[in-house]
């Protein structure tokens, strides 16, 4: 058994050494295909993470036609808090709003000196419970607010966020289609590359069959060769991703204005990295298998 394994590995390595060009072509094709698919995966998980963060920060701001009298305030806050969709309630009075505006204007705050506090509307800032952070939840909150308060205007980022989510879904779909297409193309190329090497070695295959080699004996080294090539392809794609992620993307993107301050770009987890390399192995084995089935006959 050990003797056989040693023999199979030696033969697979010798085959690869004998046809270095074909072998590198197969490895690089797989590396490119795997790296592309993994890049898409990374883009999708990071955009999703970003969307998640934005969803967490979403709140409904209800601007009021008239400020709430002090004596009613506690009651209204209590009512709002009792709604199952609402997690927290914060009342911003006209004075608070002006104070915020001043802070935001900073050095130019003197522009507001001649203005009364009542130019700005009072408002409720409502935090939403996670399970209601969708269009339906928002709609219910709006309905409740309209029944409870005299509203002047409502602001929430939900529409925009939904559009963003559908963009993420599209991205995921495109990634899936493009990825499958690329993997198929890689499979096809790997299979053809191995077919070429089989063609170049048809004498050897014929003689093997003639001297009584079993199908397993003939095929295993080629499958092993595919697996080794796939493993190397997967490894190269992983190294390429790591390098480009660390050197280029993560540095330039974290300073991008869209990302919150403590936002960390995600890279593949250890399991996903192993999965990438393993996909290479599977790709290589499938590629060899499909060409062997057509090529090797006793």
């Amino acid at each position: 058994m050990l003797e056989n394994i040693r023999y199979f590995i030696l033969r697979a390595l010798r085959n690869m050494r004998q046809w270095p060009f074909l072998c590198s072509a197969a490895i690089l094709t797989m590396a490119v295909a795997l790296a592309t698919v993994a890049t898409f995966f990374l883009v999708v998980i990071n955009v999703e993470q970003l969307a998640q963060r934005w969803t967490e920060e979403i709140q409904v701001i209800a601007y009021l036609r008239k400020p709430v009298p002090q004596r009613d305030l506690a009651g209204i806050i209590e009512t709002l808090k009792n709604y199952p969709e609402i997690a927290e309630v914060h009342y911003v009075s006209q004075q608070d709003a002006m104070a915020r505006f001043r802070t935001r204007l900073a050095d130019d705050a003197s522009l507001l000196d001649s203005m009364d506090a009542d130019v700005l509307p009072a408002s409720f800032e409502l935090g939403i419970r996670p399970s209601f952070r969708n269009q339906e939840g928002i709609d219910r909150i709006i309905e409740r607010l309209e029944n409870t308060l005299e509203l002047d205007d409502l602001r929430y980022g939900q529409k925009w966020l939904e559009r963003f989510n559908s963009f993420v879904n599209m991205l995921r779909f495109v990634g899936l289609v493009l990825g499958s297409f690329l993997l198929l193309a890689a499979l096809f190329i790997v299979s053809n590359t191995i077919k070429l090497t089989l063609y170049a070695r048809r004498d050897e295959l014929e003689i093997m069959a003639l001297v009584g080699a079993t199908m397993r004996f003939i095929k295993v080294p080629f499958l092993l060769e595919g697996a080794i090539q796939g493993f190397l392809g997967g490894l190269i794609s992983l190294l390429f991703l790591m390098l480009s992620f660390n050197l280029l993307i993560s540095r330039s993107l974290t300073s991008f204005w869209l990302t919150p301050g403590d936002f960390q770009l995600l890279f593949l987890t250890l399991n996903q990295q192993l999965g990438l390399v393993f996909s290479g192995v599977v790709l290589g084995v499938l590629g060899s298998l499909s060409s062997l089935r057509r090529f090797v006959r006793i």
């Binding site: 003797e3 023999y7 014929e206 003689i207 093997m208 069959a209 001297v211």
Partner: protein, 224 residues
Amino acid sequence: MIQLYNVTKKYSSDSVAVKDLTLQIDKGDFVYITGASGAGKTTFLRMLYAAEKPTRGQILVDRKNITRIRGNQIPYLRRKIGVVFQDFKLLQSRTVYENVAFALEAQGKKRYEVSKKVYQALKEVGLEHRLQRKPLELSGGEQQRIAIARALVVDPLILLADEPSGNLDLGVTLEIMELFKRANARGTTVLLATHDHSLNQRFPRRIITLDKGKLVGDQRPLPG
């Protein structure tokens, strides 16, 4: 050792390679298969090592019916049969040693066993001093001797040779015939397809003659 019953092989409806062949070859026989080109000699041999399936009829090799043999059993049939071709069929990128060892490795033999047997087989054909050469560095006769060593290294029950001396001069042919005779003397059944009648005059043996796929003659040498 080999029995054929009404064996016919057609490649297409109007191309019959072997027609209604019935014959028996005993263990330890030495048989010439003769006939003009296209007589069906090669097809006959190819059916014996299951490279072709007969269209009709039954073939028994070593008491096993190989007409109904399953694909995964073919390798085990071939381990009993050594085959030698006119064009040698050697691997040019491998050394003499590797070419002969290949037959044993393909059968999953252990390394120490392989090296011992390969050396013996090459010594038998007189090429033990050429172990590390590549086939193309050697003469045609030497290449054919490597092919014979490869066929014999597995101690086959049957040795099939398809025009083994077709490309070789008389001196080399006689050397090769000597190797076949020695293998036959050790008990291997030898079938030698040839259109060279002079061989039979030098080494009289049973002659099976085919013409357009049909058996037209089966002569045994006169005793004495």
